[in-house]
Assembly symmetry: C2
Homo-oligomer: 418 residues x 2
DNA sequence: CACCACAATTAATGCTATGAACTAAGCTTT
DNA sequence: AAAGCTTAGTTCATAGCATTAATTGTGGTG
């Protein structure tokens, strides 16, 4: 609606982005295949790819014989053109990880968080320290880091300052993006942890190949990441996907958010254990922390446990059905530590429960799968944030500025004109 | 992700679209203002606008004096360049309406539907008849009709055939688009009625100015149209927004869809009246049809009625809260005949109930308003379908083919070169 | 060694938006 | 009323882009 002009430069950028994205996603490809996949002429493919090779962004990777003709040269994104840093600001620890452009982890740093409500300044200090630590550890030039992606468990405003509201951290309007940018020149991206984990699942996990999916995350809390047409659905202020506090049982159990009958109060780990305790005459499940207690409950063979878990499957099915009815995804990916624990044991029954509560047609169009990546994928998901940007603008952001300054060709640069 | 190449022609089309959209939305504008609004150079604005004037798509509309200089010539979309037909296939009647490009209604035709499950062929015949009837009635050349938009109360697959699944009509996989195209050369668009009504509200009603909104429709049934970034949210198979059958009261009232505890069973007109009957010892509310019965209930001053309505407001609030939590809209527009009846009397209390059930922040970011257009807006919404297409491709679709054939200039064509 | 098949690059062409120069149209001042 | 000023809009030369067509590169085959 408020679209703006298009110029010839936009055209080139867009075409570079199309090519780069395809090369990155679909592995090594020949110029020919690229032309067919993108509908670009071979001349343009050659031209654009040649430019990206000159910049070191793309490299040739072997060749494939072609029935009786000149062999096709395969192209891939140069893994070492740049590096990505992803960070996960969790409730108990900060994790910082370094990846190359094939998303291979090269180094990792971790910082425990002592306080219940950590000071934003301290978190920023840890993140900046982690940034230099992982580059040193891997022996990577800090200038080669294309971007820092940070995931936090709260809502993140989509503004330049990346203002964070995170109840679990006690943060109310922390301009995390601005604070980080004051300490580093590397481009910073901040987003919600569920959304980054969802992005990771979409690219490397159970969401591969789907364009419309919902990643449903059940842990102590309950949330969801909605992916539409390959991109994260954000809504007006980036807080879309607050699945845990949708009303599933009007007037029901009190949720920690204060409302009655939220989904989280029934299928969140805390809610499950609390319901078990009530059903078990006040005696809680064994186990020290929530995670082991839930494990114990899942292994328990008492009738009480079975009833509570039956109910949980039912509530979860109703919750997933709500997602299916409202978002009409082609895939629902169930994750989070509690979600995985439940799903590993009850997935068929969760599917049945969902079928009972969803409309027939949208249900039939959606498959329900389990997450394939561990919880550590949050950091990897965060690292996809700068990757998305790189792909979106065809890698021109860095070289654009650099090209004007360094007139001298890169080492190993291939001669274009002779 | 699966984006394709961009060419110079795409660029021109995109820039025409940007200009045309702005002219259409923001009323008469001068070339200067257009340049500023779109960031296009004045030269390009002149060039593109000139082309559209030559084609008859845009026309000059008076001028405005400018402090001491040459007056600015205002530009607007020529209302008579083409016409739009919108049709609403309801449960009891088919309505066909003709609009000019300012969305002024010029003619109308209506066909009652007798059968409970009308024959698709008969509906198609009515629609085609209506198409010629409204053009004749208004004295408009049938060739000047840019497109026919059809709204049906069911899900519509986003394919070339526009396959319709409509439970209320008893249709299961009716290729309505293909059937219509067999009977007319005019471009046909088919979509869900709630979505077209939502589009109408967004452009001309309570949704004006919002980019992210949910139009929540409560009648006998309950549905929603989700608008994201100005366009309808469809999901993988265009059935997104099935709000009525989200579970709001786990294990609660039986819904006509067969499930338990659906929102529709509580806040749909049928559900409200049925709950009243149960609360009133089996005696239903007075009134012949649902609409008058609900009106009677709203006017009633008994304690039973008050209780039922209180509950209804609560359930509705919980349902709207679900929309706000999941979609994070900047506006929720409540409509549908029952929704309007409830909203006119209880809007402040509905807002309160929503606040009780939604998360604080997303609630604070969303306003809740009532629909401003009547239920007849479904046909107007359907007419926006071809309008959207016209704006999206800058009006090149029609003239592109025509330009090659008719080398002779249009009457009234303005000389471009002298 | 000539020839063929396929891959990739180069050259010529046409379309596009842009900035600068220029023309148009009204008002104000002399 | 003529010159000058101000703003609006157009024309023209230019540079960037993707495209088609022609050309060069690289292997196998008769």
């Amino acid at each position: 609606m408020d679209a703006r002009r298009t110029t010839v430069r936009d055209m080139r950028r867009a075409n570079r982005a199309v090519l780069l994205t395809r090369i990155w996603l679909d592995g090594p490809l020949s110029r020919h295949e690229l032309g067919q996949a993108t509908a670009l002429s071979l001349a343009s493919v050659s031209n654009l790819v040649g430019e990206m090779i000159d910049e070191g962004l793309v490299e040739e990777a072997g060749s494939v014989e072609s029935d009786g003709g000149r062999p096709r040269v395969l192209l891939r994104v140069a893994p070492g053109y740049g590096y990505l840093v992803g960070a996960d600001v969790g409730e108990t620890r900060i994790q910082v990880e370094l990846f190359d452009l094939t998303m291979t982890a090269l180094a990792k740093a971790e910082y425990p968080i002592a306080a219940a409500e950590p000071d934003p300044g301290a978190v920023v200090a840890h993140l900046l320290h982690g940034l230099t630590a992982v580059t040193e550890q891997a022996g990577v030039d800090p200038d080669a880091v294309l971007g820092l992606g940070v995931a936090v468990s709260g809502t993140v405003e989509r503004t330049a300052d990346a203002v964070v509201h995170a109840q679990t951290l006690g943060w109310e309007g922390v301009p995390l993006g601005a604070m980080l940018r004051a300490g580093t020149d590397i481009p910073v991206h901040v987003d919600n942890g569920a959304k980054t984990l969802g992005q990771a699942e979409m690219w490397f996990g159970a969401g591969r190949g789907a364009r419309h999916a919902v990643v449903a995350l059940v842990g102590s809390g309950v949330g969801a990441a909605v992916i539409t047409d390959g991109v994260s659905y954000r809504g007006a202020h980036s807080s879309a996907g607050e699945w845990g506090h949708t009303t599933i049982a009007y007037g029901g159990r009190q949720c920690r958010c204060g409302n009655l009958g939220c989904l989280e109060a029934y299928v969140g780990a805390e809610g499950i254990l609390d319901r078990y305790r009530l059903a078990n005459r006040g005696r809680p499940a064994a186990g020290g922390d929530e995670e082991s207690a839930l494990g114990e409950l899942l292994r328990s063979s008492t009738g009480t446990a079975a009833t509570v878990l039956d109910d949980t499957v039912g509530y979860l099915g109703a919750g997933v059905a709500t997602l299916i009815n409202l978002f009409n995804p082609e895939r629902v990916v169930l994750g989070g530590w509690a979600g995985l624990a439940l799903g590993e044991r009850f997935l068929p029954r969760i599917r049945e429960a969902t079928a009972r509560h969803a409309l027939r047609q949208p249900y039939a169009q959606a498959s329900i799968e389990l997450c394939q990546l561990g919880p550590d994928a949050v950091a990897m998901g965060a690292a996809t944030l700068p990757m998305v940007r790189l792909l979106r603008d065809g890698g021109v952001s860095r070289s654009a500025g650099a090209a004007r300054i360094e007139a001298t060709p890169r080492p190993g640069r291939r001669p274009r004109t002779r």
